[in-house]
Symmetry: C2
Subunit: 330 residues, 2 copies
């Protein structure tokens, strides 16, 4: 399997340097770490938002560092949690005295290492709260999780909580908004092909030429069902059905059609077309529809659908300005 990399052992290091080289006025790498923070961190008079996790999901996580979203993010090796030490450095570098909200995707390594880091930071007198995102409705427990996995809905947590923090809200308010998104968001994905990690250089799992996997995880973890390949409209129906669940007619929603890394945008728009039709048929109202690569799985072909029920508060926060490498709104 060909990749545009050098030594697989260096890929995260080189990627992080390539990111700061692309955004020298926005991103700063903490020396001898895999942690990126806002160039102007710590930002005074603002709750800091931090996150992190394994690499290979770009633009997650560092792509969302900037005004109106994250203050910093720790990058682990490919599909591996950052260490507790790196999370601790991240928290320390971003706190300006107004407290820190840690946004954790629900994977055992991330949760454990972030929790350790939070304890250490608290011993240094930093106020830290955390939320755990578990938006993947596909499976209840999984290869790396107790409970549901955290996937693309995490970006909506960054956006809403980041906007709340930028408005000067205190830590409890920022946390409340993050939890509101978590309570209202669901995601389900499908894979057409396996991802290939730089280290292994071969597909993580086997999928036949005429097979797809529904409910796939962003590391290639097993989903709910392996089926014959089907037309995009049918795939979209399966994914949408899983995330709409119990939404009432008239409910406003924000939707995300997310590419897994190797999916042409053409296909994502084909999926979005059917998704919006389905929402209309269910009497739901789309307040905003995002289409793009927000949380990927290296070179996996496939897509996920995220639906988040919104109220006036969330709509205002999703609309608020953000200026980051991967997401700019104004």
């Amino acid at each position: 399997m060909k990749k545009l990399i050098n030594d697989p052992d260096d890929v995260v290091d080189e990627m992080l340097d390539g990111m700061t080289a692309a955004h020298p006025d926005r991103l700063r790498r903490l020396p001898e770490t895999q942690v990126l923070v806002r160039d102007d961190a710590p930002v005074d008079d603002k709750v800091a938002l931090v996150t992190g996790g394994g690499s290979g999901h770009e633009p997650t996580h560092a792509g969302y560092i900037g005004d109106g979203m994250l203050d910093g993010a720790a990058a682990g090796d490919v599909f591996s949690s950052p260490t507790a030490d790196e999370f601790e450095e991240l928290i320390g570098a971003c706190d300006a005295g107004d407290g820190v909200l840690a946004i954790i995707k629900n994977y055992e390594g991330d949760v454990m290492n972030f929790e350790t880091a939070i304890e250490l930071a608290e011993m240094e007198g930093i106020e830290v709260e955390s939320v755990v995102v578990n938006d993947d409705v596909a499976v209840e427990d999984s290869l790396y999780t107790s409970g549901r996995r955290g996937v693309c809905g995490t970006i909506l947590v960054h956006k809403a909580a980041g906007a709340k923090a930028a408005q000067g809200a205190d830590l409890s308010e920022v946390k409340r908004v993050a939890e509101k998104v978590i309570d209202n968001v669901g995601t389900m994905g499908t894979a057409l092909t396996s991802c290939v990690t730089p280290e292994k250089g071969e597909p993580t799992f086997d999928l036949g030429d005429d097979e797809i996997e529904l409910g796939i995880g962003i590391h290639g973890e097993p989903g709910t069902e392996r089926t014959e390949a089907m037309p995009a409209d049918e795939v979209t129906e399966h994914l949408t059905e899983a995330v709409l669940d119990d939404l009432d007619e008239g409910q406003e929603v924000l939707t995300v059609v997310n590419g897994m890394g190797a999916t042409p945008q053409m296909e994502l728009f084909v999926v979005n077309r059917r998704l919006q039709e389905l929402l209309g048929e269910r009497g739901l109202e789309t307040y905003d529809a995002w289409v793009g690569d927000y949380m990927t799985s290296l070179d996996m072909a496939g897509a996920s659908i995220t639906v988040c029920a919104v109220d006036d508060e969330l709509k205002e926060l999703f609309d608020a300005p953000a200026d980051t490498p991967a997401l700019t709104t104004k």
Copy 2:
């Protein structure tokens, strides 16, 4: 080859509907065409910018419709030029009386059909000027071109000329800026895998498991050299060497590392890291560095590097606000 599509014959139609469904407040589809225009087109007191070409390069072309960039774009079938009729409808829908600049990528079908459309529009009394982008330094003539191909540098033409038009400049000034970018921009790409068109469902060309193609075109047209796969740094050196050409030490440049559709962002940042090192070694100064999928080739794995020499005028125009589905600056 699995794709998230329905009938291949419907893919462009469904994609365009999926785009307008994602951006109902920005994009409007002209009835019974494959033409998308700004929702508020024609925009008064402004030169209109239009473009178009085959589909399969998303977010090119319609992703760049909006404030500070394009007024509209015609989408052909996959890798096929739009018809002269569609280009004519596009021009007519975007002109508000201040003239239209057509930005044409140098492919024989696009040039021929756009020229016919321009003649027809001029007979209707619309003032139209055109520029032809030919930034691909790989090959002098190609499968579908006389002269060099138009590729990712086209986005920089949209950005700079679009900013100039938004400032109220007249048609000759907007055209002058477009030509300035064209005179100063070069691109070279590489493919690790072939693209697969929806219609054919099989790779457009064969590339061995350990082979890459340098100088590839965005439709899979042959490049300059087929070589063994090599580390990202070496690939980057080959591409960069080809586009730096005769730039003087101290020259400021804008760079683009563009993904071909199936390339993980991780790899694009690895390439950007080496690109910026090479520029530094050559005494060139990076004024801005873009990394992402700007002009793709369906599901091709690979990347292109674009370098554009900039002066104060171009820097101001690249920095100017833009608000489009695929590119937002502020």
